[in-house]
Amino acid sequence: MTRLIIALLAVPVLAGGALFAHDEFRIIGTVASYKANVMAVKKKEGQTVSVRLDKQTLITRDKKKITPAELTAGLTVVVDAYGDYEDDSLALEIRIVPPIAAR
């Protein structure tokens, strides 16, 4: 019985810890799509990653706050996100910036 209680107590502790485990990522690229709080970003290196948005995600253009509905395909974005992996990470801040000149 004691073991069961320990397990029941330990699981939320472990799960809670996992919930907060994260790495921070900077993703620079163009918006490929935005739908249902998920934005696909095509990185300048070529691959496409998905980032999730929540109510706390700050989205700005020229330092002014805008809504997710304005995340249209083709915009250049700088995303600071966190998660276990870059793909499917949670966006903390999304900045819409001028297009980056091709090299």
Binding site: T2, I6, L9, L14, G17, A21, R26, V97, P99, I100
Partner: protein, 193 residues
């Protein structure tokens, strides 16, 4: 019930805190390799090789158990990229520095105490600058150096020159890659005759 609570706390301290936050008060997490999990994707910084080059005070003089080194490099920051460049210095060790950026940058000269979690960095200077020349004495043993961020859409080149009692340079890039740079010894400088 009390025993269960104690057991849960033990699990938290021994396993969860080292694995998730890199906090390892007992050392068990480090022994089991759990602290490495706290920063997946980034290998732990290797300890500096050889002497830690800690100074021994002799009045106004600080004597070191080895020669000072020097380093010079250019770092190109692409649009909106950032970089951290740091050196390992022992507490009290000195470094001279000069850096300049070809464009506007955000900057933070800071240090990370050896063994402390990454979010415990101490900032020394985050004023808006495009260049700085100065000297630095490490307030604690750890890695000390600069964060530079390019806030614009054009490349910015950082030119960095340092000399000091350090052994290795570490570069942390915004794409999460990490580079280790050997610094040069004095015999790399030709003598004037």
């Amino acid at each position: 019930m009390a025993a269960a609570l104690v057991a849960a706390v033990i699990v938290l301290v021994l396993f969860v805190m080292p694995a998730e936050y890199g906090i390892d008060p007992t050392g068990v997490g480090g022994a089991l390799g759990l602290t490495a999990i706290a920063a997946p994707g980034l290998a732990p910084i290797p300890p500096p090789q050889g002497d830690t080059l800690a100074p021994v005070a002799l009045g106004p003089i600080a004597l070191y158990p080895g020669q000072y080194k020097f380093d010079a490099r250019e770092i190109v920051l692409g649009p909106y990229e950032y970089v951290e460049f740091k050196y390992h210095l022992a507490e009290g060790a000195t470094m001279l520095f000069a850096w300049a950026a070809s464009g506007a940058v955000m900057h933070d000269f800071h240090g990370d105490r050896e063994g402390a979690p990454p979010d415990a960095a101490q900032s020394y200077d985050a004023a808006a600058r495009r260049q700085a020349d100065g000297s630095f004495t490490a307030p604690f043993t750890g890695i000390h150096g600069w964060y530079w961020e390019n806030p614009g859409g054009e490349d910015v080149t950082i030119s960095l020159h340092t000399a000091g009692f350090y052994s290795t340079g570490y570069q942390f890039n915004s794409d999460r890659t990490r580079e280790t740079h050997e610094v040069r010894a004095l015999d790399a400088i030709p003598s004037d005759n």
